[in-house]
């Protein structure tokens, strides 16, 4: 069974026409299989010169956020992510990943600038060939994930969320 996202407002859309009904036949599920780690290009990282980062990491909890610089909701969530990041320690891999096309109109430097302007103080990376995006079946941004130390997805959330929810989900995955 494939995971699919429940679209915001799906109920009201269904009333607009038969077409809308087709896509909503599967609701979200979380499977218990471990996610395979992938290597991503690092755009900016504090206290590190590594070109790539492996995620998720076995042995500690991982928080991942998929975003794009054009995404207003992602932008408005940055203060929440900053607060969540401040509250968790080094025992969590905390990572933001853009999956927008880079290098042609929007460059790595543009993302790095955006990142600085929005006070990003943790590693930001690029999912250039959508490996991570496909693995997580993330059909939109923002999309947040918490994985436990065995790299199992414990929480996935499409759209806006806040620092408190992220901390709660990280704590739950640590247990």
């Amino acid at each position: 069974m494939r995971r699919r996202d429940l679209l915001v407002g799906a109920g009201s859309l269904a009333a607009l026409g038969g077409g809308a009904a087709v896509a909503f036949d599967v609701v979200e599920t979380t499977d218990s299989a471990a996610v395979e780690a992938v290597s991503l290009d690092v755009i900016a990282a504090p206290e590190s010169n590594a070109d790539t980062v492996m995620t998720p990491e076995r042995g500690r909890v991982t928080f991942l956020e998929l975003f794009a610089t054009w995404c207003n909701v992602c932008e408005s969530m940055m203060p929440e992510l900053v607060a969540a990041h401040d509250a968790v320690g080094e025992d969590v891999q905390f990572l933001s990943v853009t999956n927008e096309p880079l290098g042609e109109t929007v460059t790595r430097e543009d993302v790095a600038t955006w990142w600085r302007e929005h006070s990003g103080a943790w590693t930001v990376a690029a999912d250039r060939d959508l490996t991570l995006t496909r693995e997580f079946e993330a059909s939109g941004v923002p999309y947040a994930f918490v994985l436990d130390a065995q790299n199992r997805v414990r929480w996935r959330h499409r759209g806006r969320t806040d620092a408190e929810e992220i901390r709660t989900q990280i704590r739950a995955a640590e247990e």
């Binding site: 859309l13 038969g18 077409g19 087709v22 927008e100 096309p101």
Partner: protein, 231 residues
């Protein structure tokens, strides 16, 4: 009927496909070497849920169907674009959005943008045309559309991105809802709307109608590449 420009490779397969598309179920299909008409007109196989979809009277053009023709101003190009004008020349992707939409629409537009970026990177930009269309012309002025395209990282130099704007709410209703079957309700920058992306081949036939949200991650690019390679 629109003019078909066959300035592209004039091979037997293209001719057969054109004939099939024009005949639209006429008995001439029997003269085309016994291949089934639908198979000749599409490169991609039927979508996963096609059997179910056929049972539903979908309001929009679905797999294997010709896209409707509508002529809509393209404010960033100072001309009008007809939805079928690239038939015979380019594959196309269409979607229907409003620029102040914060949820579904950016995902739809970014799906088109992903394919545009891939078309530039993989050298098939001249094989594609992208036609996002607003249904909120009152809010979406040419200036708003211009800013929106910048924010979404649209490549203007590729010359294959035509953002379309019906010039009144009435015309938007006629094109988006009544012609393409994309329902919406609301006004002034806030709408509920159904979600549709059409991937259309060079004969103007729908290869994929992604509804209910953007295609799954990467699927749009995979399908576009398969279409270009299989043509």
């Amino acid at each position: 009927m629109t003019t078909r420009q066959h300035n592209y490779t004039y091979d037997r397969r293209t001719v057969l496909k054109t004939a099939g598309a024009v005949a639209l179920g006429a008995s001439t299909a029997g003269c085309l070497g016994g291949s089934s008409e639908t198979a000749e007109r599409t490169v991609l196989g039927p979508p996963e849920n096609y059997e179910r979809r056929k049972e539903i009277d979908l309001p929009f053009p679905d797999y294997g169907e010709a896209i409707p023709e509508a002529t809509i101003p393209a404010p960033l190009h100072d001309r009008e674009v007809t939805t079928t004008e690239f038939v015979g020349d380019r594959h196309a992707m269409l979607t229907f959005v409003y620029t102040t939409c914060g949820t579904v629409c950016p995902g739809l537009v970014s799906s088109l943008r992903r394919v545009q970026a891939d078309s530039v990177a993989e050298d098939y930009a001249e094989e594609f045309a992208f036609m996002p269309t607003t249904f909120d012309p009152e809010t979406d002025t040419a200036e708003m559309i211009d800013e929106y395209c910048d924010r979404m990282g649209v490549n203007r130099d590729a010359d294959n991105w035509f953002f379309l704007r019906p010039d009144s709410p009435e015309k938007a209703r006629a094109v988006v809802d009544e012609t393409f079957g994309v329902a919406y309700s609301g006004s002034g920058g806030h709408y509920e709307h159904s979600s549709l992306i059409l991937l259309v081949n060079k004969e103007g036939i729908v290869e994929r109608a992604y509804n209910g949200g953007p295609p799954e991650a990467g699927a749009g690019v995979d399908d576009a590449r398969a279409l270009v390679e299989g043509w």
